[in-house]
């Protein structure tokens, strides 16, 4: 028997106080297997011990929310008995160490979370943050992550329909890979993970268990240092073919009524799935590891319990239904084994080679997991007014901006994803939101992911508000009714009070918008300890959001569609340059305060725009975000291959007017004959609206300033990514 020394406890990521608590809960010292079980179940990744107390502040309810946080994914009602099931999850640490497999298994994991609930995945999104483009590892990381996402998602036959990508040096040692999956199911066919009742068979389905990914959850709960590459063996290897079989087999089993509960084996594998199911069901569980399908010989109990081999599920069946389930899994040529049973003892018991190797009260692993009120310091938000050179030539700045790493075309990425499989993608990548039709209907889901980490660094509260508001705005711009969000909270080390302050403020910001816009959180994930050698990433609370388009024939896209349309700007433009991309790319400064979101105005403006789209009067809309008004207009023009002529507005200061990142704004285009009436309606509703100009021609022309051809803008927009990925020499970023 391995002796439990303080050194061994430390290596398992447990503090002396946590170890003392384990001894107290067990009434004795744990053995080595039990220590391993506690180490993963009490890890930050599985227990949310630093954030749990704060996450309670997030609004999670609405009449359309059928399942909030706490299950494998959230569930919302989209009418007619249909539901959307979704969640976003990070796979940051593994993706930095081994980008292809890290990203691929991130995609596989989030898909399992969704089909575990009984839903067929219909869309994938991903929110990616990379370090400085010139960093020596970054090309390798970008190409590996993108290939991994494509390699897995394409084989699964689930379209990857959009996402976001940023570059910033704070991610040099800690890239972020957040993947979101959206599925569709029927409201009366939702499956949950509570293993209720005693004497029910516990079945193992999917791939065999190997020695891969042992302690992945523990790795994800610690900072990186120089030697993090040594952790490469803890990264799992994905097998999308097996996952595709698992998906089809699970959906086939779910069409029967044989299942009591089902849960995927994700982080902390067999241990976490079985303990969580028992905990939620208020039951106990006995596992016999000799029956676990194994890929390698002589695996120990410790290895089997902590393995994170992919493409595995655990289900609790009704007694007597094993043969029926086994037939389905044999058809799909997957492993199937009854490996245990539920009990009424409320204990988590594991047997191996005839011996009991672990015997722990279930509550000790779940409810008794530590919850910390970590000390935090809220930093004062930066509020300075940044200085800038008012004489910089505006058109040149526009061309630079539209071709900069954070604003250039992401075509190089999304062309590697199959975004049109399933034949329901009605808005492809590149717009404000992706739109996927509900198969066989005229309804559609609009999906987006958003956060602007540089705002969150300057002002965690306003930055997090902006992330949720922008997600709401993006769905609205497509004509969707925003319904709910999933949050993927990526931060540094929560044991540092200033990082904990960022976490607390960001959660407060998210909560405020959720309340104001009836936009609850239904699922989420926290990824902490995103630090290398003590340097934390920018606070990155990524928001994934889903909305409903009632009639897909009435939706909007950003691309300009007709000559001589009136271009109208909704929302107030003060010219907020703090933390703007203009400052960063043109002035080389990252300073100033984050823009503030006025939630009452946000709602008013959005409801007005959505009303116009739903009434069939408006089909061309773009939200104004990164890069400001002129960048938004340029994106609309490039999308439609059509120019626009605008006045500078009544602002005397062209640079802040064109590039300021004020919130709550939309640009839209509609036939000129409608313009007056729409402006009058806006005025009546108290909504700032100005006639900015009109569509037509082959260039963007700004009265009294200058003009540039759409071709030149497109060239700049399309050049950066392929150039960056193919060239040993970096194209200039400004």
């Amino acid at each position: 028997m391995t002796e439990i020394t303080p050194q061994l406890v430390r290596e398992h990521g447990l503090s002396p106080a946590e170890y003392a608590r384990i001894v107290e809960l067990l009434g004795r010292a744990p053995n080595f297997v039990e220590l391993g079980i506690f180490s993963v179940m009490w890890s930050e990744h599985c227990s949310y011990k630093s954030t749990r107390a704060h996450l309670r502040r997030l609004p999670t309810r609405a009449p359309w929310v059928l399942q909030g946080p706490g299950e494998n994914a959230g569930v919302i009602d989209i009418g007619d008995g249909d539901v959307a099931v979704f969640k976003m999850e990070s796979h940051n640490h593994p993706s930095f160490i081994e980008p292809y497999q890290g990203a691929a298994t991130g995609v596989g994991g989030i898909m399992r979370d969704v089909f575990t609930m009984g839903a067929r995945p219909v869309a994938m999104m991903n929110a990616l943050r990379f370090g400085a483009p010139e960093h020596e590892k970054m090309r390798h990381l970008v190409s590996g992550v993108v290939a991994g996402i494509g390699g897995y998602g394409n084989c699964m036959g689930v379209p990857t329909v959009g996402g976001e990508v940023n570059f910033h040096p704070s991610y040099n040692g800690n890239i972020l890979v957040n993947a979101m999956c959206v599925g569709l199911a029927r409201a009366d066919r939702i499956f949950k993970s509570a293993a209720k009742g005693a004497g029910n068979p516990v079945v193992y389905i999917g791939s065999k268990t190997g020695r891969d990914g042992i302690h992945g959850a523990t790795m994800a709960s610690a900072e990186f240092s120089e030697d993090s590459q040594e952790k490469r063996p803890t990264v799992q290897v994905g097998d999308p073919f097996t996952e595709k079989l698992l998906l089809e087999a699970c959906l086939e089993l779910m069409a029967t009524d044989a299942i009591v509960a089902i849960q995927d084996m994700g982080a902390a594998g067999l241990t976490s799935s079985s303990a969580e199911m028992a905990s939620k069901g208020g039951s106990g569980i006995v596992l016999d590891l000799d029956r676990v399908p194994q890929r390698e010989e002589k695996m120990t109990a410790y290895e089997m319990l902590l393995s994170e081999s992919q493409e595995r599920m655990l289900a609790v069946l009704k007694p007597g239904r094993e043969a029926e389930a086994e037939r389905i899994f044999k058809k799909w040529e997957l492993d199937f084994a009854v490996i245990g049973t539920t009990t009424d003892t409320s204990r988590f018991v594991v047997r191996h080679e005839g011996k009991t190797v672990a015997d722990i009260p279930v509550h000790a692993l779940s409810e008794e997991a530590p919850v910390y009120q970590r000390p935090f310091e809220k930093r004062a938000a930066i509020a300075e007014e940044p200085a800038f050179d008012r004489t910089k030539p505006l058109i040149e700045s526009l061309v630079k901006l539209i071709g900069s790493p954070d604003l250039c075309s992401r075509r190089w990425i999304w062309e590697q994803y199959d975004w049109s499989v399933m034949a329901d993608t009605v808005q492809a990548p590149g717009g404000d939101a992706a739109v996927v039709r509900v198969h066989g209907t005229n309804k559609a889901l609009a999906i987006t992911t958003d956060v602007t980490p540089r705002y969150c660094r300057a002002d965690p509260f306003e930055g997090a508000k902006q992330a949720v508001a922008e997600a709401w705005r993006n769905l609205t711009a497509a004509g969707a009714r925003p319904l709910a969000i999933t949050d993927n909270l990526n931060f540094g080390n929560p044991e540092k009070p200033d990082i904990m302050g960022e976490i607390a403020s960001c959660i407060d910001g998210i909560a405020e918008v959720c309340r104001a816009l009836d936009f609850p959180v239904v699922s989420g994930n926290c990824s902490l300890y995103n630090e290398t050698n003590g340097e934390a990433i920018l606070p990155t609370p990524a928001i994934g959001a889903v909305g409903l388009i009632v009639d897909v024939r009435r939706m909007a896209t950003p691309a300009l569609k007709r000559e001589s349309d009136a271009i109208i700007l909704i929302g107030e433009t003060k010219g907020h340059l703090g933390q703007s991309l203009y400052l960063r790319e043109i002035e080389g400064k990252e300073n100033g305060g984050a823009p503030v979101v006025d939630l009452a105005a946000e709602r008013r403006h959005g409801d007005f725009v959505r009303g116009l789209i739903e009434s069939g009067k408006l089909d061309t809309v773009h939200d104004v975000s990164d890069g400001g008004l002129l960048v938004a207009l340029t994106e609309m023009a490039m999308g439609g291959g059509m120019g626009a002529r605008i006045a500078r507005g009544d602002s005397a200061d062209a640079i802040p007017f064109c590039f300021g990142e004020d919130q709550g704004r939309y640009l839209f285009a509609l036939p000129a004959t409608e313009a007056d009436r729409v402006l009058r309606e806006a005025a009546r509703a108290g909504i700032p609206a100005i006639l900015l100009g009109q569509t037509g021609g082959d260039r963007i022309a700004i009265a009294g300033v200058g003009e540039v051809s759409i071709d030149a803008l497109k060239r700049a927009h399309e050049a950066w990514f392929p150039g960056y990925m193919s060239n040993a020499e970096l194209p200039p970023t400004n």
């Binding site: 390699g151 394409n154 073919f241 079989l245 799909w332 049109s420």
Partner: protein
């Protein structure tokens, strides 16, 4: 016209093909499992896109050896119409039902985007409703679509009018020899093509250029 769609374990365009077939033929196709050894009585078999058995080996290599493919091959030799789309095209070449091979894309990356195609031949059950030389747009979505064969085979394909779809000049997404996107068998009853006509049968998805292909089959085989 009666049709069937073969379902390999990781086929993933089987539903898309079935939806297009039902929409354009008015009848649901039979879905045939790869383990089955006999096709139902149909006029057309579709081998859909996807990853068959995972395609960790050469794409389509294992699927070409599956029980159902023996019957597909036998019946195709007797004149049954077979349409292989994307992975289905790869299976057809691996099964020796079409000449040549589909190698890794020249840029070594998966590519998904609409491409412009020229319809080169209208003397086939698959393309009679197109105009000769018509430019159409279908999406591609593949990592291994780089059509390659020896010069003599390519010359023969061209000479016998068996190159049915060609990528428009400048729009070859994968490096295929002579911009070849789709070819016919010698008896002209088997078509393999990399682009996806079944994804452009619905205006909401950005085009209906794929419809004439299925309409051609309905006219020719009904």
């Amino acid at each position: 016209m009666k049709s069937a769609v073969v379902v390999f374990p990781a086929s993933n365009c089987d539903r898309d093909a079935a939806v297009a077939l039902e929409q354009l033929t008015g009848k649901k196709p039979a879905m045939v499992w790869h383990h089955d050894s006999e096709l139902p009585d149909v006029d057309l078999v579709v081998l859909p896109g996807g990853f068959a058995y995972g395609d960790y080996l050469r794409c389509g290599a294992m699927a070409a050896q599956s029980p159902i493919m023996r019957d597909v091959k036998t019946k195709a030799e007797k004149g049954l119409s077979v349409l292989g789309i994307c992975n289905g095209f790869q299976v057809l070449t691996e099964a020796g039902m079409l000449p040549g091979v589909l190698m890794r894309n020249a840029e070594l990356k998966f590519v998904c985007r609409p491409v412009s195609l020229d319809v080169e031949e209208t003397q086939s059950a698959f393309t009679r409703k197109y105009e000769k030389g018509q430019r159409v747009s279908f999406p591609v979505a593949h990592g291994d679509g780089n059509y390659t064969a020896d010069e003599a085979t390519l010359d023969r394909l061209e000479g016998e009018g068996r190159v049915v779809f060609r990528y428009a000049p400048g729009d070859n997404p994968n490096g295929s020899a002579r911009n070849i996107a789709g070819i016919l068998s010698r008896k002209r009853n088997v078509l393999g093509l990399m682009p996806h006509p079944e994804r452009v049968c619905d205006a909401a998805l950005g085009g209906t250029d794929g419809r004439p292909l299925f309409e051609s089959l309905v006219e020719a085989l009904s």
